[in-house]
Structures are given as C-alpha cells and as structure tokens.
Subunit: 332 residues, 4 copies
Amino acid sequence: MTIRFGLLGAGRIGKVHAAAVGADPDARLVAVADPMPGAAQALAARHGCEIRAIDEIEAAGDIDAVVICTPTDTHADLIERFVRAGKAVFCEKPVDLSLDRVRACLGVVRAHGGRLMVGFNRRFDPHFRAVRAEIDKGSIGEVEMAVITSRDPGPPPVDYIRRSGGIFRDMTIHDFDMARFLLGAEITAVAATAAVLVDPAIGAAGDYDSVQVLLQTADGRQAVISNSRRASYGYDQRIEVHGSKGMVSAENQRPVSIELATAAGYTRPPLHDFFMTRYTEAYANEIAAFIAAIREDRAPSPSGEDGLAALALAEAALVSVREGRVVTPEGI
Amino acid sequence: MTIRFGLLGAGRIGKVHAAAVGADPDARLVAVADPMPGAAQALAARHGCEIRAIDEIEAAGDIDAVVICTPTDTHADLIERFVRAGKAVFCEKPVDLSLDRVRACLGVVRAHGGRLMVGFNRRFDPHFRAVRAEIDKGSIGEVEMAVITSRDPGPPPVDYIRRSGGIFRDMTIHDFDMARFLLGAEITAVAATAAVLVDPAIGAAGDYDSVQVLLQTADGRQAVISNSRRASYGYDQRIEVHGSKGMVSAENQRPVSIELATAAGYTRPPLHDFFMTRYTEAYANEIAAFIAAIREDRAPSPSGEDGLAALALAEAALVSVREGRVVTPEGI
Amino acid sequence: MTIRFGLLGAGRIGKVHAAAVGADPDARLVAVADPMPGAAQALAARHGCEIRAIDEIEAAGDIDAVVICTPTDTHADLIERFVRAGKAVFCEKPVDLSLDRVRACLGVVRAHGGRLMVGFNRRFDPHFRAVRAEIDKGSIGEVEMAVITSRDPGPPPVDYIRRSGGIFRDMTIHDFDMARFLLGAEITAVAATAAVLVDPAIGAAGDYDSVQVLLQTADGRQAVISNSRRASYGYDQRIEVHGSKGMVSAENQRPVSIELATAAGYTRPPLHDFFMTRYTEAYANEIAAFIAAIREDRAPSPSGEDGLAALALAEAALVSVREGRVVTPEGI
Amino acid sequence: MTIRFGLLGAGRIGKVHAAAVGADPDARLVAVADPMPGAAQALAARHGCEIRAIDEIEAAGDIDAVVICTPTDTHADLIERFVRAGKAVFCEKPVDLSLDRVRACLGVVRAHGGRLMVGFNRRFDPHFRAVRAEIDKGSIGEVEMAVITSRDPGPPPVDYIRRSGGIFRDMTIHDFDMARFLLGAEITAVAATAAVLVDPAIGAAGDYDSVQVLLQTADGRQAVISNSRRASYGYDQRIEVHGSKGMVSAENQRPVSIELATAAGYTRPPLHDFFMTRYTEAYANEIAAFIAAIREDRAPSPSGEDGLAALALAEAALVSVREGRVVTPEGI
C-alpha cells in the first residue's frame, strides 16, 4: 500500500517535507496547496504532483494523509478539518499558541479517532536518537539529570518574533519536548530566568532572547535548558543525560570536520549555521516515521498530547519569569 | 622578604598547603599546630618546621601569616584571633556555615584592617584561569550566560554530609563562586531544584544529592549550575561562558590522555577520581597568590566578602527549593 | 543542455553512480547495460531508463557520456571504444592493472581528443576537499609533508585479492593519488615495506595486507602512507598535511557522534564500517564534477594521466619491496 | 637505604635531574661537579649539596650513583670511569655518536658488571607508558604497526646542529627507541627519506630538517616515523599503535585545555612549546625508575644496549638516504 499525500503549504519547510515524501518508496505526493501560485507550481513541477485547493484535498478520495506546513494560526483549524475528513495528519509544531485552542483541537482529534503527529523533528536526529537508544539499553542506568543546550546562530526578524508567541513557545518548546523525551517522565515543576541581551528590539517586541529553565519530575529527575537567540560560532545543539551508571551525550555537528593548526592554535570550522542543514536527516526521518506509523496502523509519535505538554511547559516558564516562582504546569 | 608561615591543621588539605608554602622561594613554613601529635610530627619532619600550640603561633614574633585548615566550626574564631594578632590569614572555605557568624567575623577583620583570603581554589586552576583571561581580553565580547557543571565521583560519608551544611553550602558553593568569578556581576535572583537520587541516606540526613540552580544578575546575565554527588566516569568539572561575540569553555581533565579503538568503539580513560589530583595546580597557585599579595601589600583575593557572597547564594538556593520561589540573595 | 548518460555495469558502484546522475538537474540516465538481466532491470526500473546492449549505447545518438563500472579488465577497451564513439567517459579506477596497457589506452584518448575522468572519489570527499582548500588558500604556507592513514575494516575475499593486482594497485592507489593531490608535485622516490599480518591466505595469494610507503618529490616534499586490510574500529581514513606555517588535517567520520561515559571511561561509537557509507558524498560530488566539466567543456579531473601516475607509484612500491631499494617511478 | 648521588653537569637538564633526585625520598644529592663555578654553586645552594671535582666524586665513598649531564663527547669516557669506580650510572643519551665507541664503552660496562641506564625519557611519559600498558594487557592483540609523529617547535641553533651528529642521531633517535619500545621486536629493515625544507643553513651544515623513516621487524611488524624541525603549533608528539584487535594512541599535550568558539570557528591553544615542559613528568619518572632499580638491585632500563640499538637505526637511516636502499641495521 502506498500512502498518498497532500501537502498544505509550499514554503521552506513544505519543500523539505515534500522531498521526504518523494524519497519514501511507500509514499507518493499527489497534490500541493498554497495561496502563492508560484510556490505551488515550483513544488508541483519538481515532484510531478497536482496543484489543488485545500478544499479539494480535503474532499479528495485519492489522498490518505496530509502534511500541514501553513502558518501557525491555521494549524488547529486544518487539523480538525482533515481529521474529520479521515486523513492522517502530520502538523508542524505548534498546534496553536493557545493552550485552550490546542486542548479543543485534540478533543476533536480524539472524538474522531484521528491520527495526528506533531513535528518535533529533533527526536529523529540520528545523534539524539542514539542518545535515547543508549538510555533505553540501560547504558546509563536510571535517568537522573539532563543538560540541554540550544542556541541559534542569530535572531529571526522582529516581525517573526512578534507572531511567534515568544521564545519559550517558539524556540524552547523543542527543548521542552527533548527534556520529556529524555527524562521519560512528566515535568511537575518549572523555574526560569529570562533577559534581553542580544537585541533591544526583541525586548521592545515583548519577548526575551536569552533564557534558562529548570525542570523537575515528581520523582526528582531534573533537566536544565540554556537558550540564546545568538551563537556566533553556529547552531549550538547539544544534549547530555546523566544516570545512575553514567552519562551519554551528543556533540554538535559541523559541515566539515577538518582542523587547522598554526601558531595561533588548533582551529576547527564553525558549526552548521542553519537549522535546515543541521537537521536534514531529522526531517527526512520524521516523515518516514509518520509514513511507517500509518502503514502499520500505529498511533504516530510524537502525538498531539506531546505538543500540548511542551506548550504547557512554555506557559509555565513564562509564568515563572513573570511571577518569580516555581510553577506546576498542571495548574496552567 | 620571606613570609614566615604557621599552619593550623595538619590533615589532608594541610599537607597540600604545607607543600605549596615549602615550594615557594618567598615563603617558609615555621610551625605547625594540630591536636593529633602524629599528624603534626609527620608534617614537621617532612618540612623541617617546629610543632607549636595554636596559642604559641598566635603570639609568635617569627610568624607573618597562617593557613587555617582546621574543622569548619573553628574557622571564624581563628580568623578573628589571628587577624587581631596581626597575621595575614588564608582560610579554607567556608568562613562559617552561618551567614550571621560570617558577617560578624568579617566585621572584626575590617575593624582590624586584617588581610583575609578564602580558599576558593578553582579560581586558580590554570584552565579556568585561562577561561577568565579570555573573557578579560574581550575574546567573547560582553559576558551573557555561563553553564557550570560540577559532579563528584561519589558521595562523601553521611557523617560528613551531616556536618557539611548541606550540598549547597558544601559543594555548590564552589560553583556559586565560579559564577560570580565568570559573570563579573552580583547575582540578584536564584532559583533551584533539588532531589535525592543517589543515596536515600543522604535524604535521611536532611540533604540533597542532585541539584540545579539558575542565577541572574540585575542586568540579565545568567548562569546555570548542574550538580550531582555521583559521576561514575570521574570528577566532572566543566565551565562554558557565552558572550556577545562567542563562547569560551574549559574541558575536563584526565590523568592520561590515551585512546583505545576496538570493535567496541573509541574509549578514553575516566577523569580524575579525586579533587586533590584534579586541582593539584590550583592548590599550589592559590597559596602562591596569597604569598604574592602579602609581599606586595595587596588585599588578597578571593576575599572574605567573596566567601560571604557565595554563602548567601547557597542560602538563597535552599530557600528557593523549600519555598518554591525565585529568591533575591540580598534579602537573605 | 542536459547531459544524457549511459551506464555500463549495474552492480554495487553502478547503482551509486546511477543515483548521482539521477539527482543532478543537468543530467539524465538514458540507458543501462549489464550482462545480468536482473541487475539491469532493477536499476532501469528504479531510474526509469532503458536497458540496452553496450553496442547500442556506443552507437546511440541520444547518449553524450558513459559511466564505466564494469570489471577492471574491460576498462581500457571500453574507454577506447567510447572515446572513439565521441562520448565523454567516466571510468572507475583503475584504467588497467598494466602500465603499458594504460599508456596505450591514454594514447587512444589523446589521439581522439577524448574526455576521460578516472574515479578517484576521495578527492571529492568534503573533508579532504576542505583540507585541499586550506592548502590552496595558503593557510599552512608551503606544503612540506603529508601523513596518510588508510585502513580497511576488514580484508576482501581472497578471490577478490587474486584479481585485484595486489594491495598497492588496489588499495594504496587511492593514497598515492591523495599524496599527489596534497603535495602538488610529482613523486620522484618511493620506498615501501610490506608484510602479511592479517591473514596468511592473503600471503598465499601472493599479496600483502600491511604496508607502508615513503614518497618524496624532487624538491624534497614528502609523504608517508600507512595501510592495513584490517581495522577493528572501522574504516580509518585520515590525512594531515604539514607546511611551513602549520598543519591541516581531516579526522575520521562516524555515523553517529555520541559519547557514553561510565566507570569504564568515555566511549564513542566505531567509525563507518563500509567505504560506500563513508564516501557517500564523495561519490555524488565526483559525478557532479564530471557533469559540470562536460557542460562547461573543460577537461575533467582527475584525468587518465592521474590514473597512470598513481599506478606507476604502485608499481614502484612493489619494486621497492621486492628489491629492497628506493625506486624512481619514472624508470618504471 | 638512601641512594647517594653525584651529578656531573649543572646545566639545563642537570637541574631537572637534580630536582628529581631531591624529590625522591629514597635518594639524596650529595655533590655536583661542573666546570662553570656559577652553575655548580647555584645548584648546590638550591639542593644543599657540595661542589666537588669529577675526580673527587669518582673516588668518593659516600656516593653510590651518578647522573651524567655533560656534553655528549664526554659521555663514554665518564661512563667507563664511573662504572670502574663501582657507581651506578645514569647517562643522558647518546652514549656517543660513534657506534664503535658505544660498543667499546658497553664492553667496559659488561666487563665490570656495571649498571648503566640511558636517558630515553619518553618511555617514562605517563601517556606513552599508558599506551605501552594497554599493549601489555593485550588490549590491541598482537602489535602490527606503529605511527610515530615527532615535530619540534623550531630548529635548534646551527651550531648545535653541527655538533649533534645530525637529525637521525639527535632527534629521530628518540623515535627509534620508541619504535623498539612499542613494537617489542628488533628492527631488521630501515628505509628513509630526508630533505632540507625548514632552513637552508641546516643543509649547509650537512644535515636535514625533514625526514621520514620506515622500520620493519623480521616478522613483518612495521613502524613509520615522521619528523620535522619545525611545527608552528607547538611540540607535536604523538604515537599510535595498531594491533590485531585494535589501536591505541596518545594525543598531544597542551598547557591549558580551553576552547574559544567564535565566528572564526573553534580554537584551542597551541601545544607545549618546549620539550622540558612537555616531558616534565617523564624526566621525574625516569630518575625515580633508576633509583628504584638500584634499590632493588635490578638492571636499569633502558640499558646501554637500548642506546646502541637506537644509534644503529640512526646510522641505518642515514645510509638509506645516502645510498637509496633499504638497510639492515645489523650490518651497520
């Protein structure tokens, strides 16, 4: 059985997912929808698929699954429409910036027995997966503490930041998901610090650019997240997990691994400077996992509930900063 | 001018400091005091110095400076006595476990124009100093965020833990000092999580063994500390400091730097398994810095006030854990 | 203009090159030839191309270039045929195991103004290319000495070894080419040692499995090669180049870059265990370079003469081992 | 029993050995001899020992062992005199630059049942020792091939080079000894290349500054040495040993292990820039090993015969360069 796909949104990330669908022998890209005719045409030409309106994809009998890459404020509505139409749905994170809206949307998904996967691509990075595999093998014993470093090469445009929901919901949300993925237990306490150190315009837009978060589970497992919107040396993405028997970590990735030694010392090139080159394999792997789940009639993972949990942690961190207290995400 | 030393306490760390004094061409160890005659004799024999009572050292005309390596609960009294006697004082951390007692002691030091240095040895580790030197050179621009990892190879005896004042005052205190050393500004907000994950006996003694702390300064600089009383792979001591232009970090140290590659992968030996072998050079350097300060009639650093500030952060972290809030150390 | 390709040989490496042609927007795979119908059909199905006999491809008006992936003993004949037919030719190394046959073949290529590229894929590895780019930028000053390490995960079947021409012509030949690529000057002296340490069956087949080679140019630049048919820890492929101002090196590649730290030490996974996963990008890049050269009407590189030069070094190394002397490859 | 030492030569390396003797609880420095009164006085003052003439040390009843740190051309005579006088002798390498003179000297040592240790300090470096310990434990199976890299930060004065016996006898000799130490078998074949790339004045003095050597044992084990008198990035001292089950290597050492990451990449400081700081521990360990051998009445190692074997390899390498052939050191 070949899974037949519709793609909603032919922008930057839409192109990446279209390529992943096209490369999978078990899937086929049937149609793309985008309000920008040029974007849709380019993608359709490259992948030999049709251009259709969203309505048409929704009603189509030759489409089994959709990939939603449209703007964030359309995600929840589209998820509900396509779940109702019986399609399997892969949606870029987040489902919505409002916890209430996410909860309502997931209620619809559940009511219709829908299949929904949320795009936390980092879970599919081969290095982070290998970390998780070591944990699952018991190599480090019982998981106790995680240290998650995530620093962007540079801040996005302030326009983007204004629509983003803020650094916790936009950037740290990946690290919240990673913490849950690595600790293997729900977070019950959140504390955060936040500041504007990179660009005052970010502060003027009501956001922060440099944040730290502590997380703790009911049984005392802990994680710490360190985020900045700026890292001159590239896209800094590291994790380390400590357990009762040891530690496992994933180092940064760089495009070329050479070293130059001169009187000035030993120099290696900077890291990747863009999330799409850093996470190339992760993007391909997550779509492959979605396709495999549909084929094997399993619930895809990470689920809508994983998306909700990460968003609740983002809310909790924001409350912690604003109110100067340790926050229980349940109460959010 | 040769600085003539008295040593109070001939135990483990006393021996280390005696060797540092002995190796310095500008200093001479004149006398040692210890209630255990065997310990004093061994040290006196090795360094060719006299054995005297504490009183005698206090009254001695041939002693310029003392190194206090006695149990913690004697530190504040001894500092006061020897400052009054006009001796320069190097005291192992902490001055006392009680903030009030420390404040009173520092009042005495100030009143007598005393010279007091507190033994935060890590400031003198060549690798951490090199990190600080890069900061001072401007290599990373304005300092923004620090990540401090400190994990002990294994927990101390529960007896020790009971007398230690708890993990924040005993272990994290070094990291609080390091955060101040690296951020170059006073901490105004502290949040912490804490748990017992290593040994329930530590919890039964009223302490924690796994903690994380967030620190923030008034201008938004941040630091995060991750501590555990256990690290199977050795004494894990890392720092990284992020600034507006880049990052500087110090990696772990291991006794031998070989690598074995087999079908099982590439393996390097564990780290140092003991703080005294890890920080051998730091201990020697701190005594040399104390001697140099006396000779050059400069105030030695880190000062008693540095000791007080780190202790206040420990108190603040403990309050944060107990009360579930972000704590301002000033109010402590 | 799209370059239209014929592929000769649908085996392991043929599939790799077919994928590279297929992925290039400037090229199209038109036909494949292989004596094994199953292999040809699988490849044709995957790439949507025709199956033709070699004669048909030779005579075809809709084919501009061929990729030769047939057995070594057919290379020289096929090169001559296709050059005569006016096709651009990419041929897997070596052109032939006999120096005389290679010389004759290259004579035919020259006589017909043919375009011939020899598949020294390592020149196109992104890491090794970055090393060369640093040299070209002058980062290390004048090149003086190179150290080339090349160790296979395990020996090939003895049957393969019997037909291979021996380790110098089969395996070291890549390192001879790399030495020329890095030193930027012709080799004038060769000395080698060789032994059978891995498997006596290799010795019984008249070959060696563990060899070392010294190379020197007329102006005194030097290179050393260390080869083994066995490396338990994976496919060991390193280069370092020393110059008047410094050194540039390329480290090994591994599929995942995690590290596990336990009481046994710090362990990273083994290296790639197969040349085709190690050099995935190199294979794609070399075909892209061939296509670009044809499109831009440039002589493709590495050339047939580069293939000849590397083979002459292999001969010289063999003579050095057999006769116990330093050999001048010119005289070979 | 305390071993009582005389020191012959109070120069740079004499001071290092004096400190090692002084630090050993089983040894005492009794007297120093040096034709420069100032040098002898400084050393005597620092170590509280007497100044004596060489004759007096030779005749002294209160001296058990001597450390010879005089110029090379006096070594063989002094070894003979002190062995005849019944003293244990530690002599800096080489025993002499002439193979015949070394053989004669060792004959005298043997005839008098003398105890002689030659100062190949690198065998006592903790990292290289750890490599050897892994070999001895069988971690890499049967030893097959070694790669030895040794590059000096910069060339010595040409005056020194003129008296040095040439790069093979002066510098590579350490690597010849290391190859024997690591391979655990005698070398039966030597091939070398050599050039002047660093400084024409070195060539004018009849020496080379850039050399490579291949070594092979009777059973086919191999080693390769790469030497240069210049390495802008510091004192480059690496070894790797390959065996039937894996590889063990020792990386370079640097004074501080920090890393700076900026837009220009990740930079670590240069290596040590001086052999005496790089090999501090090795120098101390070798004297301790000499003292232990005397105390325990064992033959000290490395022996005079080890010194002879390394010198013979240096001769063989020189012959290989001059005559363009693979040389058997036995015939030298």
